[in-house]
C-alpha cells in the first residue's frame, strides 16, 4: 500500500513539474538571458502573445509548425503577456497546441518590461523579434504575420553563416 502511495505521489510531483515547466515566470532581463544563451549557436525567434489576443492565437500554430519543420535550426521562445488570473488558461492553451518545451510568463511592470525587450516594441500584441546567429536583431514587428512571413524571416537568419 505504501509503495502505491509513494508511486502515486511521485507521479503527481512529476506531472505537476512537467506542467509548470512549459510556463515559467520570467522578467524581461531573464528572457533576454534565455535569448542570449543561443548567441553564436543558432538564431532565435521570440514571440510575445496572450490568450486574449486573437491575432496571437491565429499565428501561434504557424510557429509550432515551423519549429518542427526547422527542428534544431532555430530556437523558438514564447512569452505570454497574459493577466495573472489567466495563467492557467495560458498553460492550457500551450498544452492544446502541443507545447512540450519551456515557455515564459511575463512578470514585472509593462513599461520596464517592454522597453527592456526592444525599442521596436510599443506594447501591442502579438510582437515578434528575430535574432540572427550572432545575436543581432534581424527583424521585429507588431501584429499578426502569416506562415510565409515567419518562414522567410527565419530562412534569412538560418541561411546566414
Amino acid at each position: 500500500m505504501k509503495a502505491i502511495l509513494l508511486v502515486a505521489s511521485l507521479m503527481v510531483t512529476f506531472f505537476s513539474v512537467q506542467g509548470d515547466e512549459i510556463l515559467v515566470d520570467a522578467t524581461a532581463e531573464e528572457i533576454l538571458e534565455k535569448i542570449a544563451i543561443h548567441q553564436g549557436e543558432k538564431p532565435v525567434l521570440a514571440n510575445f502573445w496572450a490568450t486574449w489576443c486573437a491575432p496571437c492565437i491565429e499565428e501561434f500554430p504557424h510557429l509550432m509548425e515551423l519549429r518542427e519543420k526547422y527542428e534544431g535550426q532555430f530556437e523558438l521562445i514564447f512569452v505570454s503577456g497574459d493577466f495573472r488570473e489567466a495563467r492557467e488558461e495560458a498553460k492550457e492553451f500551450l498544452r492544446e497546441q502541443g507545447v512540450d518545451f519551456e515557455t515564459y510568463f511575463k512578470v514585472g511592470k509593462d513599461n520596464e518590461f517592454i522597453t527592456t525587450i526592444s525599442d521596436e516594441w510599443t506594447g501591442a500584441l502579438p510582437f515578434t523579434i528575430v535574432y540572427n546567429k550572432a545575436g543581432d536583431v534581424s527583424a521585429a514587428w507588431e501584429g499578426k504575420a502569416e506562415y510565409e512571413t515567419f518562414e522567410s524571416q527565419l530562412l534569412k537568419v538560418i541561411s546566414e553563416d
Partner: protein, 203 residues
C-alpha cells in the same frame, strides 16, 4: 520561375515590413496634434473635430475600443481622468480605430452600448478608416496622447502602471501628466509603454 516567385515573395515581405515600420512612427513629444479638423461622429450622434474638443489648456485623446481586455481593465479610470482634465480646461475624446472588426464588436451600435454601460463622461467617436490613428501613429488600445494648450504633445503612453488594480498603482502616468500640465510644471515621465491590443486596421 522559382526565382521569380522568390523575388515576388521578398518584395512582398519587404513591403510588409516597410508598412509595419511606418505604423510605429508615432508622434514625438513636442509634435503638433495632426488632423485637428477631421470630423468624427461620436456615440451621441454629434460630429466633432479635435479642435472643437480641445479646451483652453489642452487635449487628451485616448485610442480605445470595445473588444480589448486591456481596455476593460483600464477603462474604470477613464472617467476620473476625464473629470480631472475637463475641470481644468483640457478636452477629452476617445477614438475607436478598429475598422477591420467593425462588424465584430466595434460598430457604432456597439460603441453606443459601451459608452452607456460605462457611463462615459467624454465623447467616444468612431475613427473611420483609422485616419486619426494613422496620423498619430497609434499602435494599440488603450493608448493616450496628451497635448498642451498649443496642441503640442506632452505625454504619450499608458494610463498608469497597473491595469489589474487601480488601488495598487504606483505611477499614475496620465494623471500625473495632466496635473503637471495644469500646474505648468515639467512632466516627469513623458513617454511610457504598456501591453495592449493591436489596432485592427483594415487590410
Amino acid at each position: 520561375m522559382k526565382k521569380l516567385k522568390l523575388t515576388i515573395l521578398s518584395v512582398c515581405t519587404a513591403l510588409l515590413f516597410t508598412a509595419s515600420a511606418g505604423l510605429s512612427d508615432s508622434l514625438e513629444i513636442g509634435d503638433k496634434a495632426p488632423l485637428v479638423n477631421q470630423r468624427v461622429e461620436d456615440t451621441s450622434g454629434r460630429t466633432l473635430t479635435l479642435s472643437e474638443v480641445a479646451g483652453r489648456n489642452g487635449l487628451m485623446v485616448i485610442f480605445s475600443c470595445n473588444t480589448c481586455p486591456w481596455v476593460t481593465k483600464w477603462e474604470n479610470r477613464y472617467n476620473e481622468l476625464s473629470a480631472l482634465a475637463g475641470s481644468n480646461g483640457i478636452g477629452v475624446i476617445a477614438l475607436n480605430p478598429n475598422e477591420r472588426i467593425r462588424n465584430r464588436g466595434e460598430s457604432m451600435v456597439d460603441m453606443k452600448k459601451r459608452a452607456q454601460k460605462q457611463s462615459y463622461n467624454f465623447p467616444y467617436a468612431l475613427d473611420e478608416d483609422h485616419k486619426l490613428a494613422d496620423a498619430f501613429g497609434a499602435t494599440r488600445t488603450p493608448e493616450v496622447f496628451l497635448f498642451d494648450s498649443n496642441l503640442r504633445l506632452v505625454y504619450h503612453g499608458a494610463i498608469d502602471d497597473n491595469a489589474d488594480n487601480a488601488s495598487q498603482v504606483e505611477s499614475a502616468y496620465a494623471k500625473d501628466a495632466i496635473n503637471a500640465l495644469i500646474a505648468g510644471s515639467e512632466i516627469d515621465t513623458q513617454e511610457t509603454r504598456s501591453l495592449g491590443c493591436t489596432i485592427k486596421r483594415s487590410e
